[in-house]
């Protein structure tokens, strides 16, 4: 299992558009990807659930990736967060 934490810097947080792009970025991987904010954990593949978390600027989230391609997936997703969020 791989994981990283990230503090959101995008002023509007993970709203519809970035959420959509994030889900698209995660989809190709076989690994299970989850995002946790506080006590709530959701599947990164589920757009609605992700948007429902209401991740805002300044929030710290933890992303966990577990599965056969977790190394590449973790690298790609972490880069996505740094570049876009």
């Amino acid at each position: 299992m791989k994981s990283f934490t990230y503090t959101i810097t995008d002023p509007v947080g993970i709203h519809a558009r970035p959420a959509g792009i994030l889900v698209k970025a995660v989809k190709p991987f076989q690994s299970t990807c989850k995002i946790t904010k506080g006590a709530k954990t959701v599947d990164l593949r589920k757009l609605m659930a992700l948007m429902g978390m209401g991740v805002k600027c300044g929030d710290t989230v933890e992303v966990t990736i577990e599965g056969p391609d977790e190394d590449t997936a973790a690298a790609t997703i972490e880069k996505f967060f740094k570049d876009n969020l």
Binding site: A16, L47, K56
Partner: protein, 628 residues
Amino acid sequence: MDYRKCAQEIYDLVGKRENLVSAAHCATRLRLVTADNSKVDIKKLEDVDGVKGVFSSNGQLQIILGTGTVNKVYDEFLSISGMTAATKADVKAAAAAKQPLPFRMVKALGDVFVPILPAIVAAGLIMGLLEGMTKIWPDMATSGTYQIFHLFSNAAFVFLPILVAVSAARVFGGNIFLGAVIGMIMVHTDLVNAWSVAGMMEAGQAIPQADVWFGLYKINLTGYQGHVIPVIIAVWFMSFLEKRLHKIVPEMIDLFVTPLVTVLVTGYLTLTIFGPVFAQLEEWVLVGVQWIITIPFGIGAAIAGAIYPLTVVCGIHHMYNTVEIGMISNTGLNTWMPIASSANFAQGAACFAVALKTKDKKFKSLALPSSFSAFLGITEPAIFGVNLRLMKPLISGMIGGAVGAAVGSMLGIGATAYGVTGLFGFLITTKFIWQYAIMLAVSFAISFTISWFLHKDKPKDEEVAAADEAPALPEITCEKGKVYAPIKGNVIPSANIPDDTFAAGVLGEGVGIEPVLGVVYAPFDGEISSTTDTKHAIGISSPDGMELLIHVGVNTVAMEGDGFELFCAEGDTVKAGQKLMTFDIDKIKAAGYSTTTAVLVTNSDDYAGLDIKEGACEPLDCVISIKE
């Protein structure tokens, strides 16, 4: 998957090259414009391996292939069909081109005129007031202030070709500054002012001429002040030529070759062919009109009264001064003036009816002053700004004008001067005060009544009723795999939502709704799966697993909830038609964002495709159905 095979099958099923107008693709779809959509076998297209869905809208055939696939199929498609790559804009233009020609021409005229309306409304009102006042106080015409105001009043009309040319260049995709140059050529101060031509001919003065095309023939060196149609034709040609040249001239020399050739060729053709041909047509219309008004019993006057506004559209009406001058010198009585006056007044009345009836505040604020200007005799703002665009008021005005002109002719009204019509016309028809009043009243009453009954606001023009007053919706039984309109408005394919992310289908396929009422209802029985603190988006899932995102407006996340109110919370179970959210359309527009609301099936990848129903929708009309 075999892209070549997929492309070949699509190519065969859409009717091969002879049925194809253009081809483009977006992130997920192959977008084709066909000459005849009925030749396309949509059923079989859907069965082609790789095709996830097919629908046709606005003359476009859209074949959903999916991200990563569509571009490869597209490349094969081009190589099979021998077509060149088209952009999305080209495809849209080709689709628009399928509308009938007269419809497109009126639309182009409207598109050209709408942006310059403020200029001619201002000029029209100043001119009408000023002309009237000088008839009441003739001394005023000699004052310096009057002369300055007079300058303001006719500047927009004298240089109208420049305004029209700039606007037309924008509409036709040419360079607006080159367009301005063409307009300036047409009203150049070295040419005889078009308004002076009639007077010069009357006085027996010669109009300067120039021989053109190596002495083949001569043209009159007259300007095109007040003209519209020849300018639009010239600029349309200019834009066409300029765009062509940009394509064929090597980039290194493009910057000086293209503008040079464009101006030289367009300018020469305009002054030697477009202009003179049009001037000749005007001449014939004038002769024709003079013949028509000799038909007795008010019939001739009625015909002239009906066609008068059409001659205003063409910009020929200033030539009527010649007719009027002739009448006054022959009989001392100008019987043309009542016809023109009646026609102008009727156009004003038709516009006035629209102004009173429309609930669209912006349109009302345009129509009202335009109608006043028409009552003072300057009809351009009313005709171009309102009546011609809606068509029905123009026709109402033509009927009213015809009847009024017939009445005026039978009452024997004649004016003793020329130059003013409408309300100020009383000042030059002092011998016929009552008759003139009756004539104006008749044309007003008929035109106003017809226009009032014919006018209906388009759905999008309807004033947005307060969200609280939204009527309760009837209960409906939801069918599986269907999405019912959450908002009253106009449905467009999601690919046309003015935002790349939504249009590309990143968040799923679906529709956009251009809202007319700021209320969001539940689109099916389901559970609210997400809401946001900014209140502008709602996620909802159905019991059979469909996930839907309703995202109100584009970039509205930046409004941070201002203007939005939520009536549901995450985890709520809702029934179709239940009010979920209200939003303030005006606030979104004021903040500068599009109000187009994305209604997207976020898990559309799980389905074979979506059928959507475009066009105006009431809440709970079925707008999306999942293909089985």
